[in-house]
Subunit: 248 residues, 2 copies
DNA sequence: CGCGAGCTTGACGTTGTTCAACTAGAGTGG
DNA sequence: CCACTCTAGTTGAACAACGTCAAGCTCGCG
């Protein structure tokens, strides 16, 4: 347990992979979401598998805590998690949603890098912690892996860049449209989709208050752009939403 | 000129390095700002030097244009440049200032990656373009270089992350305080510092209108937090500014 | 001296937040 | 099975934050 700096309870933590036998990471890391590892050789993958810890989180639990030092990368396998910044002006800001597969690399390789965000479970989450030391070793073994990691950083930067621009320059309807389109096209990928987030959380994705979010959502509903019944949202007129998103 | 996809005029472009003889990049890339290359071996550095193009830009000229495909990394050597997003709601948003040394890596290694921002010269700027192909070759040669590049991405992400949070959750005084502190501590590193930006540009760094920026600046002046005479700004009470920044 | 561009200031309108009241639904205990 | 409570969601009205518009100012420059 030396390299696991995060503190887990006995129930959460298992040395053996909880989720699958044998080929676990090979299939997990090989999936769509795990592009980072897609070109690793079998021995390298096996090395990763043997050195990781698998952990399960209940809804609401904190997976990585803001302002702590990073020492692991976290590979998500199942469930929904949110990445957010805590409590500036008593407001949170949700930057990213992870559904099933996804990787958080913050601060590996960088000494004393303090994580600027919290990651917490929205539904039950299964994920694996891998020491950044092990990742470093792969650098020597596999040149392509370094490129994959840079691609990962690049994608992350791009996403953050878009979020930055969307949230700073657009008016509320544009921001709400962005949030809805993001959830449908990037996260859930189906049209009437079930949202596991509260209005409060949806508002935190859109950088506004829950009241404002509700109001805009209602406008969209009365304009027949979306249908919304409780936790379900259906996009009726995607073109119009995109138009609203572009025009701010 | 094969690998230079950007279009330069004859005056701007030279195959020989304009700025220095012989050891050019060795000293340039070796400086503080150029940490990316700090651990390259001499032969590798020489290879970079021989494959680059040095370019000079006049104030106002565009160095990299938003929505074009990336194929070079750009190493800044001298002058001040701004990185910004163009025209959403007729507003620009300045994300970053480069003074003298700095590197823009957007989208190298990633096929068909479209640059989401424009970089343009504020003062006269001297910089070098290096094909991403050459960078790729260094990956094989030098493992440490890949790590340096990832560190660079990491720093960039972190900076963007802070900007994102600052601009979305804080009120105007906090945003102005951030801009002033950023310019003093990260860019100019001296106390009465000369700002080569117009009020409009300062406002675009703080995500507000120039009128709002001027108003907040005046408040800071009457509260004796700063002294400001035209293009010069002096921070008198940094503690208080930091306080304002933290409290939003 | 006059011109023009950028800076500054004030009045006003819009956007978005706060606060408070109300509603609906889910769990709890009698 | 029905009150009761608690929380999330919704709505409206007052208010603050911020932008827009227009006018005046400063200062460099011809």
């Amino acid at each position: 347990m030396v390299f696991v700096k995060e503190n887990f309870t006995e129930q959460q933590l298992d040395k053996q992979c909880l989720f699958c036998k044998d080929d676990c990471c090979v299939s997990c890391f090989g999936r769509d979401g795990g592009l980072l590892f897609r070109k690793l050789s079998r021995p390298d993958l096996d090395q990763l598998v043997s050195s990781k810890y698998s952990v399960r989180f209940k809804p609401g639990e904190t997976i990585l805590k803001q302002n702590t030092i990073s020492s692991n990368i976290v590979c998500f396998r199942k469930g929904i998690a949110k990445v957010y910044v805590e409590g500036i002006n008593d407001k949170n800001l949700i930057l990213k949603v992870i559904k099933d597969t996804g990787i958080i690399t913050s601060g590996i390789l960088i000494n004393n890098s303090i994580r600027p965000y919290t990651v917490s479970a929205v539904t039950e989450v299964e994920c694996c912690f891998i020491s950044s030391d092990k990742i470093m070793e792969l650098f020597s073994a596999d040149r392509q892996f370094a490129i994959s990691l840079i691609e990962h950083y690049h994608d992350m930067s791009n996403h953050m860049f878009n979020t930055l621009v969307n949230l700073t320059v657009k008016y509320m309807p544009g921001r709400v449209a962005d949030t809805i389109l993001y959830l449908k096209n990037d996260i859930f990928r189906e049209n009437p989709f079930m949202v596991p987030f509260s209005r409060q959380e949806l508002a935190e994705m859109s950088a506004m208050t829950k009241e404002s979010f509700v109001r805009i959502l209602k406008e969209f509903k009365t304009s027949k752009l979306i249908k919304s019944d409780g936790k379900y949202i259906e996009i009726l007129d995607e073109e119009a939403l995109i138009e609203i998103s572009i025009n701010g």
